[in-house]
Amino acid sequence: MNKTTAKEKIILFTCNWHAFSSLEAAGIKNLVYSPALVPIRISCLGRITPGIILKAFEGGAAGVCLVGCPEGECHYQNGNREAHEVFEESRNLLRLLGYNENLLQYHLNSAGDGESFQVNIDNLVKNIQENRKIR
């Protein structure tokens, strides 16, 4: 497999709970997903800030995916709602800066559901790769 270069990397932020469990489930079931993804596990998706997201783009990432717990199932009650606000704010910033806003994607996935993770994450990656304009 070709080595992924820095400019093709897609940073995947997952929370420690539903999202990371679904990523692990995909791995256990040998479900293949894009090698461009670089997963970073954080305690809750609510801890993400526009600063962290912009930093990824500043460092040359092709895109950023945020994956968290399904609606109403956040381990800390409202982390995913907060993350959604950050997602909207960051998209606005990306638009101002002239990036395609679709380079930032958001998805909520149930724990243990590797198949859904694979299908959805593939869609997000496709979406990012089709929308790459500047980088």
Partner: protein, 382 residues
């Protein structure tokens, strides 16, 4: 690269060793909780113990570069410049201040150093505003559209100020150019000591702005005005343009009364906060006050005003914490104690910092006062 000894020498900071007058006015020294430091102690540390002592000093990154110290300095030491030099040295050694707001502002500034970036920063221009593709005057909104996104939730005026500025210029018969690809002026990277980002931004602005053929550049942000007017010629080159803060432009006009007739404002009482860059750095104290007077507002001064004005508490998006909140709440209490209905300022960053401090539920009503930018106050009268 300068050493600390050279920095002390070039800023004549050794004069501080015999004095320390500024310790009594430094807003940071006043509110320090852990330990004690002052501009003099920092310089003393640089002279006696060298680099390590300075790099550990809390004042290195918490200094507001507000020039309050230089204002009363009997020896003319530019302590803010000394701090800027010292921060440069610290950055070169891999140290940096703590970025506020999760570093998002530093990130967008660094992202703007990419020459391929095509920003969408003009969405705020609506049909009522008249903009020209070629003009003698450029309006430079700076980071206002970005502040809308990040600080919209605390009701910062942001592009409201930009709209007001264009409305005022249109009212004066000026149709300004507003450039799609201007970059951040680089004020904040410069004062953080991040010269690499500053130079890249400044060189791009220099190229874009000098190609326009305009004669004047108007800003609504005192930090942009000071950086474009004074820092650029020293560090990267002259823009070849006359740079004016909007209050300077308006003060030129003796017929202000006729152009902006004061209507229902008779009863409005306001107090005015001098931004550091506009006041102590550029010496513009009287013009905004004349403006307020001309609008028919009653101006009630705070105890600390004009040269003795106190900084809004945070500078260059670095190191905001308990100390800074103390500076801000004290200043807001002072504004409230005047009994004025509104706190007027002419810098968007002062507004951001005060509005952010007002979010504090503990201080409650003690620090609540309506805050408005002078530009929008004037535009409301048109």
């Amino acid at each position: 690269m300068n050493t600390f000894a050279e920095i002390v020498q070039s800023n004549q900071a050794w004069l501080c060793l015999d004095c320390g007058k500024c310790s009594s006015v430094c807003p940071i020294t006043l509110h320090l909780v852990d330990g004690y430091t002052s501009p003099r102690l920092l310089v003393e540390g640089a002279v006696n113990s060298g680099e390590d002592r300075v790099l550990e000093d809390p004042l290195l990154w918490s200094c507001l570069t507000c020039q309050r110290c230089s204002e009363i300095c009997p020896s003319g030491v530019q302590f803010s410049e000394f701090i800027q030099d010292a921060r440069q040295l610290a950055q070169e050694g891999g140290q940096r201040g703590e970025c506020t707001h999760g570093g998002v502002i530093q990130s967008w500034m660094k992202s703007m150093t990419d020459p391929a970036l095509e920003q969408n920063r003009l969405d705020w221009i609506d049909d009522e505003l008249r903009i020209a593709s070629e003009s003698d005057v450029i309006y430079f909104p700076g980071c206002l559209p970005y502040y809308d996104t990040v600080f919209g939730k605390i009701d910062v005026e942001g592009t409201g100020i930009a709209k007001a500025a264009v409305k005022i210029l249109n009212h004066l018969g000026i149709e300004p150019m507003v450039l799609k690809n201007e970059r951040c002026c680089g004020h904040d990277p410069y004062w953080q000591g991040d010269m690499d980002t500053f130079r890249k931004l400044a060189e791009m602005n220099l190229e874009t702005l000098s190609q326009t053929g305009a004669k004047r550049l108007i800003t609504t942000c005192p930090e942009c005005a000071f950086t474009l007017k004074s820092t650029y010629p020293e560090q990267v080159g002259d823009l070849g343009l006359e740079v004016l803060h909007i209050t300077e432009l308006l003060a030129e006009d003796e017929n202000f009364h006729n152009i902006f007739p004061n209507n229902d404002s008779e009863s409005l009482s306001v107090t005015y906060h001098d931004p550091c860059r506009l006041g102590r750095f550029m010496g513009i104290y009287q013009q905004p006050r004349d403006m307020i007077d001309n609008l028919g507002c009653e101006l009630i001064e705070m105890g600390h005003h004009a040269q003795t004005s106190i900084c809004c508490g945070t500078s260059c998006w670095t190191n905001c914490g308990q100390l800074n909140k103390k500076v801000q709440t004290d200043r807001l209490k002072e504004a409230r104690s005047t009994g004025a209905e509104k706190l007027i300022t002419s810098c968007v960053k002062c507004q951001i910092h005060y509005r952010c401090a007002q979010e504090d539920p503990v201080s409650g009503n003690e620090i609540q006062i309506d805050i408005q930018d002078l530009t929008t106050l004037i535009a409301e009268r048109i």
